[in-house]
Amino acid sequence: MKEKINQKSNFKNILKRITKMFFAQEFMHKEQLIVWIIADIVKMAGLCFVWSASAKITGNMDQGYVITYYVLMILVSKLMQDITPANGVQQILNGKFSNSLLKPMSYLTEYLGSNLGSNLFRLIVSVPAFVLGMYITSRLGFWIVDFNPYLIFLGLIAVAIGFLINFLLGNIFALIAFYNKNMEGMRIFYNNIAATFSGEYIPFVALPLLALFTVQVLPFRYTLSFPIEILLGRMTNYDLGVGFIIGTIWLIALYVLYLVLFKISIKKYAAEGI
């Protein structure tokens, strides 16, 4: 019991240390990270061209909305990233997960810290690209965000909820590695699903009503699109309320689901390492 109390009080300190450690680790490979972020910007610039050309031709959506959506994504996506589907799965497969089980803390704390450290570093590196994107978009007359403090506050809460949803989804997915020893195809498939339904490839403003309803009910929207939609300032109070309620329900449901699945799945862990 005493140990449990200590664990709780130490959680903040451990998380802080792991975050710092991963921040430093990311800094060590900063060149790679900068190139990754450039690659990310290339992808988003491409999608910007695709959808702005579509908006111009079809008139179904506002060109400014779509372009600002992708510029904001440069920053928001960095806060949402979760490395568990890659690293967590690998640890289970190669048997290193055993180390995490021996540590006097939940392995989730370690994963959370590693995500926070690397996301923080990625965010800092992305800021110049975001500012440049914002500057160019403003000069072209497409920037539509007026940085309302209230919306920024709501956006930050949505980012926190979205990150935790993404983190839990990633950790639930990683549990499959206890059963299946070849996760490569599944991991790529999971990434495809998450990217599609989070609004990365298709901005939800372009979707027809039925498809929009479907993505609003799924958890992936809250891992990327929802905070951006808030910052864009075109949501009604009703949509905001519904979005936060669905996001929170998913957060709680995924946490419970994770606890249940982990309890069942850990029994399958043979620590064989392949």
């Binding site: 695709v50 031709i57 495809n192 699903i193």
Partner: protein
């Protein structure tokens, strides 16, 4: 000295590649469930791409000068090049970093073969061939829709254009991954993937200055837009000849850059 005992003719490379292919097919039998997952993913990707293009077109018949069937053709060619590229060399060049960091690349240099060739083609991803089905479906759809108006000459030119596109794809991959030898963990391969990703759509979606770049300095227009235009009959022999010349130039350049980077390889591992 020992290396002289081996004849490094093209047939020797072909024979080695087929041996590697056989080993890769045997290896892929280990996880049969993976084949099912890849099939499922292929149809998911196909569905998403069709949805994306449907939304991009809206009620409009034409998008940046391309009809829906023509845009499917561009995307289909991209899928073919992407997944075949991954099956043949992408998977190997992606692993180059870990081979350099673990010191395994030293063994590649000891082999009596071109290190660039061996690093590119030592394994074959059977699973990626499954994903290329999405490309065949999209290209097939275009052929089905335009069957009556298709010209055999244009189709043959288009096939040649796709082969040229694959050469470009390989050149870009090899060029940027070669820097891993001199400076591992540089992230260049992620960059090349996203740059090639820009070719998923007709280059006409970009501004005229960017289009100029895509036809000259960074010739990704030759990867999908040119082969598709050749099939449609919008471009002629001239583009194929220019494309072939540029592709050979890029492959030669990437092999030269590879050699320069091999000279800088210090075998220090990770």
């Amino acid at each position: 000295m020992l290396q002289r005992e081996y004849k490094t003719t093209i047939w020797r490379y072909v024979r080695i590649w087929f041996l590697n292919l056989r080993a890769s097919i045997k290896k892929s039998n280990t996880y049969k469930g993976e084949i099912f997952v890849r099939f499922f993913r292929t149809f998911f990707i196909l569905g998403i791409q069709v949805l994306l293009l449907t939304l991009v077109f809206g009620n409009s018949e034409v998008y940046v000068g391309w009809t829906k069937a023509e845009t499917y053709l561009v995307m289909g060619i991209w899928n073919l090049l992407n997944y075949f590229g991954w099956a043949f060399f992408g998977i190997n060049l992606e692993r180059l970093e870990s081979r350099v960091l673990s010191g395994e690349f030293d063994f590649t240099l000891l082999k009596p073969l071109s290190s660039a060739w061996f690093s590119s083609f030592y394994d074959f991803s059977v699973y990626s061939v499954i994903s290329s089905l999405s490309g065949f479906v999209l290209v097939g759809y275009y052929f089905f829709i335009t069957w009556g108006t298709l010209s055999l000459t244009n189709v043959l030119l288009g096939v040649a254009g796709i082969i040229v596109g694959l050469l470009f794809w390989y050149a870009f991959y090899l060029l940027l991954s070669s820097f891993t030898l001199a400076n591992p963990r540089n992230g260049f391969l992620a960059l090349v993937k996203e740059i090639l990703g820009l070719a998923k759509y007709p280059v006409n979606i970009y501004s005229s200055s960017i289009q100029m770049v895509f036809f000259t300095i960074l010739p990704i227009a030759f990867v999908t837009t040119v082969p598709a235009s050749l099939i449609i009959g919008r471009m002629g022999y001239a583009f194929l000849i220019i494309g072939t010349g540029l592709a050979i130039l890029f492959v030669r350049l990437s092999y030269w850059v590879w050699k320069q980077n091999v000279k800088k390889y210090v075998s220090a591992g990770g």
